[in-house]
């Protein structure tokens, strides 16, 4: 595999490629996770961020590319990889359809496949709304629906070197 000095695969660099918002429903979206963020064969709902969530798209990446975070020379080899398809993104989580979701290609210079799962309230994204209040019930419904669809593609290598060990102050 071709790699840069930081071992980042060369295919990850954007170079002169533009935004491609054409997502096929069956295209997979990848997300890295730490050992404590799964339960069984699913991403734990409480580890799925809301309203916006970064993923890598299958069309322009390999699953393990998610172990190379954008803007960093670190490589999270300890992390596992989870995935779900574009069609798995919930259409709506409330009966009125106030909240909707969409996947958008958001390339980074060192991660062309980077995409974001964006939440919209009445058609306006969370980034555009100054006061984007969402009830915990709505958020939990979204997280549960996505957790139900998630699958583990690659198990984490170990818990011993988990990057989230930084979470605990000793």
């Amino acid at each position: 595999m071709n790699t840069s000095n930081s071992n980042r695969p060369l295919r990850m660099f954007q170079e002169d490629r533009g935004i491609d918002n054409n997502f096929e429903p069956e295209e997979l979206l990848y997300r890295r996770f730490c050992p404590h963020e799964i339960l069984g064969d699913r991403l734990a709902p409480d580890s799925i961020k809301f309203p916006d969530w970064s993923v890598n798209r299958e069309k322009y990446s390999e699953p393990h590319d998610v172990q190379f975070p954008s803007g960093s020379n670190q490589v999270y080899l300890c992390c596992g990889i989870a995935g779900f398809s574009v069609a798995d993104i919930p259409c709506k989580v409330d009966t009125q359809g106030i909240f909707t979701f969409n996947i958008e290609h958001n390339p980074k210079f060192d991660n062309y496949a980077h995409s974001e799962l964006i939440t919209y309230k009445n058609g306006v994204s969370g980034k555009e709304l100054k006061n984007f209040k969402v009830s915990n019930t709505i958020k939990k419904t979204f997280r549960q629906l996505l957790s139900d669809k998630s699958r583990i593609i690659s198990e984490p290598s170990s818990t011993g070197n988990c990057i989230n060990s930084k979470q605990i102050i000793n």
């Binding site: 339960l39 961020k49 939990k140 605990i168």
Partner: protein
């Protein structure tokens, strides 16, 4: 669920993260193991709650607060209920939505999942899902914690 603690080594590594292993409350070997490790009488869930208390403010890369005293208190109360009814959970973790989530998976059907989440703003929301039917998500009051845990137990053990 793959997060069982079965050896000293696994315990020491797992203790660095916010996950808790699945086990029986009446697991004598695990209790004696804990006794050797910690040399105190704290239960395993008390130890994990203490670990959650130690989460730093920047435990997530984004601005997500760690569990506060409110969510930790009610999570502890729920864990005490679970101990009394001898229904161990499979996971305790800090939530990216700011709080503590206690989760369960069925041993008979790995698709059956349930949790109860205690938010820092004192809200409590439970969830049940089998990956087939739409998940049930419902808000509960403090007075309903015990009944909700019983409901989850029936669902998971059915």
């Amino acid at each position: 669920m793959a997060c069982f603690i079965t050896s000293e080594n696994q315990y020491s590594t797992s203790s660095k993260v916010t996950e808790i292993a699945s086990r029986s409350f009446s697991n004598g070997s695990y209790n004696s193991h804990l006794s050797r490790q910690r040399q105190n009488t704290k239960s395993w869930y008390e130890i994990k709650i203490l670990e959650l208390k130690k989460l730093s403010q920047n435990w997530q890369d984004t601005e997500v607060n760690p569990p506060n005293n409110v969510s930790l208190y009610w999570a502890s109360e729920a864990l005490e209920v679970l101990r009394k009814i001898d229904f161990p959970c499979d996971r305790i973790a800090a939530s990216v939505d700011e709080g503590v989530c206690i989760s369960f998976v069925s041993k008979k059907n790995k698709n059956k999942y349930a949790d109860i989440e205690f938010f820092n703003n004192s809200e409590i929301i439970a969830a049940k899902s089998d990956r087939v039917l739409p998940p049930k998500i419902w808000e509960i009051s403090i007075d309903e914690i015990s009944n909700t845990l019983e409901e989850i137990r029936e669902y998971i053990e059915l």
